[in-house]
Symmetry: C2
Subunit: 287 residues, 2 copies
């Protein structure tokens, strides 16, 4: 039997519809629309392309975007000042930093200047900590996309054997927090793991974000597992993910494709987070 192939684009479309409705409702209630600022330091063609795609996605759902463009040789102090200005600006309802930033900047330091209420990406220490202790206010977009896909498929988390191939701050760590908060058993493996297959082949839910094209072949997967492919790499044969689609599709119970799986859901989840920070900015006036 072939795995159910998850239609990420369909899920993303549904999320965007919800975002459009929420933005309309909040506009009619408060008379304002979300205004999200992106801080960009220096210039990078890939990054500029990504930014223009995000602007377009925002425009389509009724969210305003503002860019704060700083030269590549700006001082860290000045960049921090700019972020703090956005924190204090009542007309800004969310802040993102466009990565990559120049290497002489401390990514952690910059990110942690963002006020936790305006932290669209959920990368600040405070939002990460909240997520870990079970107070999931802002969830980083990629982990949120994975969660959304599983919830969409009515997966029960409690007691499930979950394996995450990634231990980064933006994917693996928040994701494991989400699974633990839902009482799954979670293993986190990565490039330093001695025997990857020993772990992945026991997973009922397998989330892979290694960035290694087709790392996970059929023999790495447990029969009927729910397999989520977070990897995306451009190869000469086109875009591909962590999962070897051909060999896994006959073994897994469900599988997200690349492209058309986690990617579009992640973009839509970013819009969801913008609405969330907007709401917390305009509704939590007493804090």
């Amino acid at each position: 039997m072939s795995a159910k192939i998850i239609d990420g684009r369909k899920i993303a479309t549904d999320i965007r519809k919800k975002v459009v409705d929420d933005v309309k409702r909040l506009k009619s209630k408060y008379g304002i629309i979300p205004n999200i600022a992106t801080v960009k330091i220096g210039s990078d063609p890939q990054s500029d392309l990504y930014l223009s795609l995000r602007d377009k996605a925002c425009l389509e759902v009724g969210i305003k975007s503002k860019h704060v463009e700083l030269p590549g040789n700006v001082s860290e102090k000045k960049a921090i000042e700019e972020i703090k200005k956005l924190n204090d600006d009542g007309n800004i309802h969310g802040i993102l930093i466009q990565f990559p930033i120049p290497k002489n900047f401390s990514q952690d330091k910059l990110v942690n200047c963002i006020g936790s209420k305006k932290d669209v990406e959920g990368f600040t220490a405070e939002n990460m900590g909240r997520l870990m202790i079970g107070d999931e206010s802002i969830i980083p977009c990629t982990p949120l996309a994975v969660l959304t896909i599983l919830e969409e498929e009515k997966i029960v988390f409690e007691g499930k054997d979950v394996v995450i191939v990634n231990h980064s701050n933006v994917v693996g760590k928040p994701l494991l927090g989400l699974f633990l908060n839902r009482n799954a058993s979670v293993s986190v493996v990565h490039v330093f793991t001695k025997d990857l297959k020993k772990y992945t082949s026991e997973a009922e839910i397998l989330v892979s974000a290694s960035g290694v094209p087709r790392l996970i072949t059929g023999d790495y997967v447990k029969k009927d597992a729910f397999v989520i492919d977070v990897g995306i790499v451009k190869t000469k044969d086109g875009v591909c993910g962590d999962i070897d689609f051909e060999s896994v599709k006959n073994k897994a119970g469900a599988l997200t494709p690349v492209p058309g799986g986690v990617g579009p859901v992640t973009v839509a989840c970013s819009l969801l987070n913008m609405v969330k920070t907007f709401k917390s900015c305009i509704e939590d006036v007493d804090e």
Copy 2:
């Protein structure tokens, strides 16, 4: 061959010596000694006993203790005000909340009122988030004790298969962050896990904090594993831990006993954290 039995009391004594030296050095440099406040709401005999033991431990290393005792029927608002006063008090260098607190209080809300610099137990969302992203400023005492024991034994973390039996906010979650930051492969299991033995029997490092007396017998343990017992329960036969000492000691490579293992190291680590918050209060004057 029998496992090496780790002497937690010896490690704790060494830590306390270091704390005494640090307190002396900081006193001669700044002319002040650490002053740690404990907020206690209502009364609980067990809690009072614990508090008096901690006061004694503080006294022995030259740390001052102050109690803020609030009646059990105090309002949450008033309790929060008292914590905020301690945050603003330049003569207080660390704050703890004595648990249990009355059930009508939100533990998370109260803990997160503590300024992150004075958060002796590392329980605030910000300190938890920092730990998770690899900026380990204040580490909760029990996870710090586990880390300290392994470091004391010169254990290499990278690539090790680690299993943690506990997924609480105060033990399992921070501990898994510490292991992931050091590039171990980590599995977190708990009461909802379907097949505990399948996990534990593959662990090169096994940390158990289930609170179930003698849950982990020899057949749950991999040969030569490093086994750390965080459990402590009073039974009619005396105090015992998660680990069935008799059957595990002939299989594990190293083993912490109960009592005399993680417990005393945890108490000593709490003193270490007091010195840490003291230093960050008196030295980070520019923030």
